[in-house]
């Protein structure tokens, strides 16, 4: 707040009642910034000094919607350089990884810029996901900007890299689904090699629900028969229905085997699988597996 003269402004005082509830012990700096901000907002002043003040306010509290829309109004009113604004926002994003508003603000700027290529956004998204590869807001923004620019060309290579680094990253699998569904609508999509890719990743981590769920998900989306997976599933569940195993198995594999057996009408075998899940391999969900078994007899 040192760069500009605010001496003509009377900050709006914080008036609390005699018996306040949940008093936050605001710092003097916070009260000063928000007092001045309130005065400028009440006057709807769109100026350089107001612009500077929004930066100070966001550094204190990035969750106040008004500051963001006010800043955007100022950016437009003063004809600020939108590219520079995006650069500024990158720094804020790196300091506030869990904040929602930042990404919403970024969308406003991108729309204002009518950005056509997402190239500009790739380094930031890369850095943010390097820092936290499961950040929900960042993935959400990535999905948005990809859709906005209609540019799906970077996505598969990107998720390949993330899945290679962490095969359990469910955010990456989920993004892969989004990318594949969209890519398949604009170009030829090789379903079989996609399935091969997933199988290889399942072999690396047989208890990984993320990859198994993805495998089932793309079969359903592309209307493929789940029973096609029987041989593959058997490589993970071999003989389990007959010979009990001690040590690591594939729980999701056994679940899929039950699904496949049910689809094939092999109810008895499916029931055996559910019994094993209930009594041995996944006992925490005993009620759920017993319920599934009860559905089996009704089907």
């Amino acid at each position: 707040m040192d760069q500009f003269d605010y001496s003509d402004i009377t900050p709006l005082p914080l008036v609390e009642p005699n018996n306040p509830v949940t008093t936050i012990l605001y710092s003097d700096e916070y009260k000063n910034i928000f007092g001045h901000l309130a005065a400028l907002l009440a006057a709807k002043e769109y100026s350089e000094r107001a612009y500077a003040l929004t930066n100070a306010a966001i550094e204190q509290n990035a969750a106040h919607y008004t500051v963001w829309q006010y800043r955007f109004k100022i950016v437009v009113a003063l004809g600020k350089d939108l590219e520079k604004e995006l650069d500024w926002l990158e720094e804020i994003a790196l300091d506030n990884v869990k904040n929602y508003q930042i990404w919403n603000y970024r969308q406003l700027l991108i729309k204002k810029l009518e950005l056509k290529s997402m190239k500009r956004e790739l380094p930031l998204l890369e850095t943010m996901l390097d820092e936290d590869s499961k950040n929900y807001h960042v993935w959400g923004y990535r999905k948005w900007v990809v859709s906005y620019c209609g540019d799906y060309s970077n996505e598969l290579a990107f998720v390949n890299k993330l899945i290679k680094a962490d095969v359990y990253n469910n955010s990456a699998w989920s993004h892969r689904y989004f990318a594949v569904v969209n890519l398949s609508q604009i170009s030829d999509f090789d379903f079989d090699s996609e399935v091969q890719y997933v199988k290889e990743n399942i072999n690396l981590a047989p208890n990984n629900y993320s990859s198994w769920n993805y495998l089932i998900g793309i079969h359903e989306y592309f209307k493929k028969d789940l029973t096609d997976l029987e041989d593959f599933v058997n490589t993970h569940t071999e003989d389990m229905l007959d010979t009990e195993v001690e040590g690591v198995i594939s729980k999701p594999g056994l679940e899929l085997l039950v699904k496949i057996l049910t689809l094939k009408g092999e109810k008895e075998k499916a029931a055996k699988g559910l019994d094993l899940l209930a009594s041995k391999y996944d006992t925490i969900r005993v009620n759920y597996w017993n319920y599934q078994k009860s559905l089996l007899s009704k089907a």
Partner: protein
């Protein structure tokens, strides 16, 4: 897993939430904009714990809440530091704080429906609804929807409508059909709901919004139930390979995560138990293990409250949702919860269904 379950330290928790209602340190400034949400957590937690507010406390708290009601009567702001004089739309009501205010008032037994302008609030909510059926957080200076829109905002809008008992044929009702379509279209391939990846918090918001508007029936939720049932974390010799993974921790046993292959977190015990309860599928949770996680791992025995994980300090949000989860898990010593509105059930009994 025959580890003994620690008792619920009711006296400590009461002390913790009373402290939250008194003062918070300056680092809470970051949450200043949602201060009413913190108060809501504390008031409802105290009530769930069986604490009886004195007439004086009720008067002070409700008077304080009404100071956050914006002059147009459209909703509640989050903090008095955001209040403008003279007023304009840079000082808006937000869906989150309006929801919080109504929850606080109903829990204190205040007759808010006689004092608030329901039409103005609903007109505001209706105006925040966007093309895809969801809602944004506020109206901006030009009266246009602004902010992030997702299942959370649908939940808030549907809750406010319920708390105001707004009739379906009211002139300011929002487009419930469109909201329903938005929610149903946000179901992911693995059965959970989310803006992208399935997320247990967003799943609860979507399901509760449908239930609050009587739209939950008529959709097959089997895959959602399956996904929710799998959120409860369980490690044994058959999947011990997972414990090599950074996000898997054996102290998480019985807790819930919000997404696949993530740590357990107190709030997800609630979001998952709540979602399953809305789908009449509570029996798919192992209650014993779920209670163990909350009471032995995230309950803070020194200052009270619950933290997000075993490695954090307690905060009002996780502390309340920890109690709300225990109430849904039928743990003794807590009042019953209204799952849809996430307030004590005795408070919402004044509402018709």
């Amino acid at each position: 897993m025959s580890e003994e379950i620690s008792p619920l330290n009711t006296a400590r928790h009461i002390k913790y939430f009373k402290m939250c209602l008194t003062a918070l340190p300056s680092r809470a400034q970051k949450q200043d904009s949602n201060k009413l949400l913190l108060i809501y957590c504390s008031v409802c937690a105290l009530s769930l714990l069986g604490y009886e507010f004195t007439a004086e406390e009720k008067k002070d708290i409700s008077a304080f809440i009404y100071l956050h009601y914006v002059p147009t009567g459209e909703g509640f702001r989050g903090s008095l530091t955001h209040k403008l004089q003279p007023w304009n739309r840079y000082d808006p009501g937000t869906l989150a704080n309006t929801y919080s205010a109504l929850c606080i008032l109903i829990t204190l037994g205040d007759e808010y429906r006689k004092k608030l302008d329901s039409e103005a609030i609903m007109k505001y909510i209706k105006s925040t609804q966007i093309e895809n059926g969801s809602f944004l957080s506020i109206l901006d200076i030009d009266g246009k929807p602004f902010g992030d829109g997702d299942l959370r905002q649908c939940y808030l809008a549907a809750s406010i409508r319920k708390l105001l008992q707004y009739p379906a044929n009211g002139v300011n009702d929002f487009d419930v059909d469109k909201m329903q379509q938005y929610i149903i279209s946000s179901r992911a391939y693995d059965g959970g709901l989310g803006t992208q990846e399935s997320h247990a918090g967003l799943t609860f918001c979507g399901l509760a919004a449908l239930k609050l508007t009587n739209r939950i029936d008529g959709t097959n939720w089997d895959t959602t139930i399956d996904w929710l049932a799998h959120r409860q974390i369980f490690y044994d010799q058959y999947n011990s390979d997972l414990l090599q993974y950074d996000y898997c921790d054996d102290t998480d046993q019985g807790g819930h995560n919000g997404r696949a292959n993530k740590y357990a977190d107190t709030c997800y015990s609630f979001w998952c138990a709540g979602s399953l309860s809305l789908l009449n599928a509570s029996q798919f949770i192992d209650r014993q293990l779920a209670c163990r996680y909350l009471l032995n791992v995230t309950q803070n025995q020194i200052i009270g409250g619950f933290s997000k994980t075993d490695a954090d300090d307690p905060d009002p949000y996780h502390a309340y949702l920890g109690l709300a989860a225990l109430s849904l898990l039928k743990f003794e010593g807590l009042k019953e919860l209204d799952t849809m509105l996430v307030i004590p059930k005795d408070a919402s009994s004044v509402l018709s269904s």
